[in-house]
């Protein structure tokens, strides 16, 4: 779906944040990007979105070279949700906010409203359609930002630290939403520091290390190697640690631990 080939980028001449990085986001998967602070996770997503132009390398979308196309053009097929939703909220009502993107892409007012309402229903904000976005909670604003991206009906969604600054309930709601969108066929590129989220939701993961890809593969492959995980500056997810302490095979989620315990003991709680 999206392919990045030999990408190099630096904010200054001396130090390149990304060096000859290649990877692809496949159809219908959740690809998580992890790594220490400053390793270029957000830079990669900005390069994919077209907010930055690479010094070297190519971005392909469905086999088409889109390296030179601007972010506004790519937004028809790629939705980008920023860490801080306040960067984008400007409209007087939640509905107007969600309508902006389809209007920018040439849909009529009626079509844009239909798409916006559909997106708001998807993120469970339709009941707030006429409310001012400034009155929403942080989690609701984040879901509104997702709805704004979804209203343009993109094929890929980029989520940059979507759960940061949210309480537990909002976090769960957002992760459920992400899962639902993915099950409906949306490909997702997820930047996260949270290894529990990554272990539970990512189909594959990339770990960036000093401008290069330090690991690419399934979360279970990396988390089964404690030394490698720590060498890449990551922590083991809670479920992986607990399953190791219980002497179980590697589990990525509490549900897996429970299932394996039931299988081992033969009893349900």
């Amino acid at each position: 779906m999206i392919e990045i080939r030999d990408m190099t980028y630096g904010y200054n001449e001396e130090k390149k944040v990304i060096q000859n990085v290649s990877f692809s986001l496949r159809n219908g998967e959740i690809l998580a990007i992890a790594g220490r602070n400053g390793t270029g996770k957000t830079t990669i997503t900005r390069l994919v979105m077209g907010l930055l132009k690479p010094e070297q390398g190519t971005v392909f979308f469905d086999g088409r070279d889109v390296t030179q196309s601007p972010a506004a053009e790519r937004s028809a097929v790629i939705g980008y949700v920023f860490q801080n939703p306040d960067s984008q909220i400007f409209a007087n009502t939640v509905l107007e906010e969600a309508m902006y993107s389809p209007l920018q892409h040439g849909y009529s007012g009626k079509q844009a409203e239909e798409k916006a309402r559909k997106a708001l229903r998807e993120v469970a904000l339709l009941e707030f359609a006429e409310r001012s976005p400034q009155l929403l909670s942080r989690g609701q604003k984040q879901r509104l930002a997702i709805a704004s991206a979804l209203a343009a009906e993109p094929e890929v969604l980029i989520l940059d630290e979507p759960t940061s600054g949210q309480d537990c309930r909002e976090r769960v709601q957002l992760l459920r939403l992400m899962r639902k969108l993915n099950e409906e066929g949306m490909s997702i590129l997820l930047v996260t520091h949270d290894m529990d989220i990554l272990a539970e939701h990512a189909t594959r993961m990339l770990v960036l290390e000093q401008g290069h890809i330090g690991f690419e593969g399934k979360p279970a492959e990396l988390f089964s190697d404690k030394e490698k995980t720590e060498a890449l500056g990551l922590e083991l997810p809670e479920a992986v640690r607990v399953s190791a302490e219980l002497g179980l095979p590697i589990c990525l989620t509490p549900a897996e631990i429970y299932a394996k315990l039931v299988r081992r003991t033969g009893t349900h709680a």
């Binding site: 937004s75 980008y80 920023f82 306040d86 960067s87 909220i89 400007f90 409209a91 920018q104």
Partner: protein, 223 residues
């Protein structure tokens, strides 16, 4: 200029601005202007300062053009454009070559300005780069939803609203946070206040001021 005390820089900026009003000779103003352009390359070594001066130069040229179009004489138009450039450049040089804390300390300790006012002045300068960064991130966020700043001037004005609104909201939130965090750390208790980056005038500062006075007198007297 990096080695000079903040107060010296303020003094030099004031003197150059006053001098620009004491002469009606474009050549003298050109020398002051030239000295400022040389200073930016040799003293601040910041690309952003050079860019700011270049923008001010363009603005001065526009001012010159407008005055000529409005019927002012060439000499008068040239003089006012150059004076504006000299004054603005001197402020840019001070700001780009001085730490904000040093500037605040100089305004309070040496210019005897109340700390609240001095802080206001420096907070404004602190807010400018913050707002620029903010506007950049807002325009990126909007570009991700198809924002393009093109079309007719009316459409452009309308589309700028979607940048301005989030910026204003975020600026208000930021200033509220800043105010609270300052209050929490004793802002306003000025009687016992000390400064982290206080700079005092030393020999080199007095020499710089003396040299500038001599240089100005020679220029004003002999050119």
């Amino acid at each position: 200029m990096r080695d000079l005390a903040a107060f010296t820089k303020i003094l030099l900026a004031l003197m150059v601005s006053i001098n620009s009003f004491l002469t009606t000779e474009p050549l003298v103003l050109a020398v002051f202007l030239g000295a400022e352009y040389v200073s930016v390359f040799f003293l601040t070594k910041k690309k952003s300062a050079a860019r700011a001066l270049a923008m001010l130069f363009v603005f001065a040229c526009m001012l010159l053009g407008i005055q000529l179009l409005c019927g002012s004489s060439v000499t008068l138009s040239l003089l006012s454009a150059m004076r504006m450039a000299i004054m603005a450049n001197s402020m840019v040089l001070v700001l780009f070559s001085t730490k904000t804390q040093q500037l605040t300390a100089a305004l309070v300790k040496q210019c005897h300005l109340s700390y609240s006012y001095a802080f206001m002045v420096t907070a404004i300068f602190r807010f400018v780069p913050d707002l620029l960064a903010e506007s950049h991130s807002v325009s990126e966020a909007q570009a991700c939803r198809g924002y393009k700043s093109g079309g007719s001037p009316y459409n452009r004005m309308r589309s700028y609203m979607m940048l301005i609104k989030p910026m204003v909201f975020r600026a208000i939130a930021r200033s509220e946070n800043m105010a609270v965090s300052l209050e929490m750390r004793g802002f306003g208790d000025s009687s016992r206040r000390t400064f982290m980056s206080e700079t005092h005038m030393v020999v080199v500062d007095y020499a710089a001021v003396a040299f500038f006075i001599l240089f100005s007198v020679c220029l004003l007297r002999f050119l």
